[in-house]
């Protein structure tokens, strides 16, 4: 029996179907927790982020428009990532922020290029691609994405010129984009 798509689940969630939210939670709760835990390094804080993200999905589901290229997984994990980074920044007394959901349109208007790939396969594929990056580029991406460091902060942490950090990030992201677009070559 075919599993309902993310968009179908969202339509059911919009009709206040708790089972549909549970299905989405079963599908992405684990990766959401892994992401928040990687950012925060603390289980209870990561769980709060996951809880908040799924409650946000519940509360905002009625405004979700699959016709606009709605990307449920991207939306959910962007919420988790941004809020975990915000939480981490507050912990270190740095600039906090909030990502209003209506400013995510740039992120959501791009279709989910991974929609036909299961979370398990995507995990293997992405980790493999990350490993194939030069170590300095991989580390720059990890510091920026998982630890929320700016270019300047990465430069200070790594004792590396700012321009070098920018180049590593730019090159790393472009290479990653190329590798992820051609999974059959991996």
């Amino acid at each position: 029996m075919t599993e309902p798509s993310d968009s179908v689940l969202m339509q059911r969630i919009a009709s206040h179907n708790t089972d549909a939210l549970r299905a989405l939670y079963d599908r992405y709760g684990r990766v959401a927790f892994a992401l928040a835990y990687r950012v925060l390094g603390e289980a209870s804080a990561a769980e709060e982020i996951v809880q908040d993200a799924f409650e946000t999905v519940w509360n905002k589901a009625e405004g979700f428009d699959p016709g606009k290229g709605g990307n449920v997984r991207g939306w959910l994990l962007t919420i988790v990532h941004r809020r975990a980074i915000d939480c981490r920044r507050r912990e270190y007394d740095r600039t906090p922020g909030i990502l209003p959901l209506d400013t995510m349109e740039n992120m959501l208007s791009v279709p989910d290029v991974w929609k036909d790939v299961s979370a398990h396969l995507l995990t293997e594929h992405v980790r493999s691609a990350m490993y194939r990056l030069p170590e300095d580029q991989r580390r720059a991406i990890e510091l920026a994405y998982f630890e929320g460091l700016s270019h300047g902060e990465i430069a200070a942490r790594e004792e590396t010129p700012l321009g070098t950090v920018k180049s590593r990030l730019r090159l790393g992201l472009r290479k990653l984009s190329d590798m992820l677009d051609t999974p059959e070559q991996s």
Binding site: L21, Y25, G29, R30, F33, A46, P96, G97, R170
Partner: protein, 257 residues
């Protein structure tokens, strides 16, 4: 990069693109990028493949050495099954039925039990300005637009708050920057949240960093009637305000440049 008042170019946006998708920009820079992306086709095309990477990066997180507590789903289920507390009349923003967190901590004089439309806040502010009875901190505001943006008068609704500050609007970037000195700490578990208000509809506009006393909010000034700050549950604030504004600023009055 943190030069909200300087004129910015497409080249600046290209420099910020990676930081933008990685989520490492300051609020001000992020707001400017959002604004730039709405009109720049080149940046939109550059952004698309990077967003594909961003969609994939969460899956690069290593498997945690600890499992998520089974109780998380139980908490979610409990919270989403609560009765809807939003007012039936959506043109009214429900104000709290008891003292706000700030009132409980500092200002019992603000306690009241009522609901008011947000458009009334803007209207009252405007009338107060016209009548010259506003106790606002009207900022010096002449001849600085090119460098520092437009200055907008702000007013704390509680006279017990002695903080001072300013609200500036950067028209090129369409960013509001509120800077407050000596802002009292929000009560434990709460934050100061900014709102841009059109008619009866407040739009979330960011959470203030009390340590820096700043919040940057993106929005076209001509599309909103007022800017306000309320106290909301932390750390992320709310999708709709649940308390009375502690600071208000009408966006269409004669005391701005």
């Amino acid at each position: 990069m943190n030069e909200p008042s300087a004129a910015r170019t497409h080249q600046d946006a290209e420099e910020l693109l990676e930081d933008y998708v990685l989520g490492t920009l300051s609020d001000t820079d992020r707001a400017w990028m959002e604004s730039h992306l709405q009109t720049c086709k080149i940046c939109q095309e550059e952004l698309a493949p990077l967003i594909g990477v961003m969609q994939a990066l969460p899956f690069a997180a290593p498997e945690p050495d600890i499992q998520m507590n089974d109780a998380v789903w139980g908490r979610i289920e409990q919270n989403i099954s609560r009765p809807d507390t939003v007012a039936e009349d959506s043109s009214f923003i429900p104000l709290k039925t008891g003292p706000s967190p700030l009132e409980e901590a500092h200002q019992p004089s603000l306690t009241r039990r009522m609901r008011i439309p947000w458009s009334a806040v803007a209207a009252l502010m405007l009338l107060s300005l016209i009548g010259g009875i506003l106790l606002a901190q009207v900022l010096p505001s002449f001849g600085e637009e090119d460098i520092q943006g437009q200055q907008i008068a702000i007013r704390f609704t509680d006279p017990d708050i002695t903080a001072t500050g300013e609200l500036r609007y950067l028209p090129d970037e369409q960013v509001f920057v509120l800077s407050i000195d000596n802002m009292p700490a929000a009560p434990a578990g709460y934050v100061y949240q900014a709102w841009l208000i059109k008619g009866d509809s407040p739009v979330p506009a960011g959470v203030m960093n009390v340590n820096q006393g700043e919040v940057a909010s993106t929005g076209d000034r001509s599309q909103f009637d007022a800017f306000a700050i309320t106290v909301e549950p932390g750390p992320f604030g709310n999708e709709a305000p649940t308390s009375d504004p502690i600071l208000v600023a009408p966006l269409h009055d004669a005391n701005t440049t």
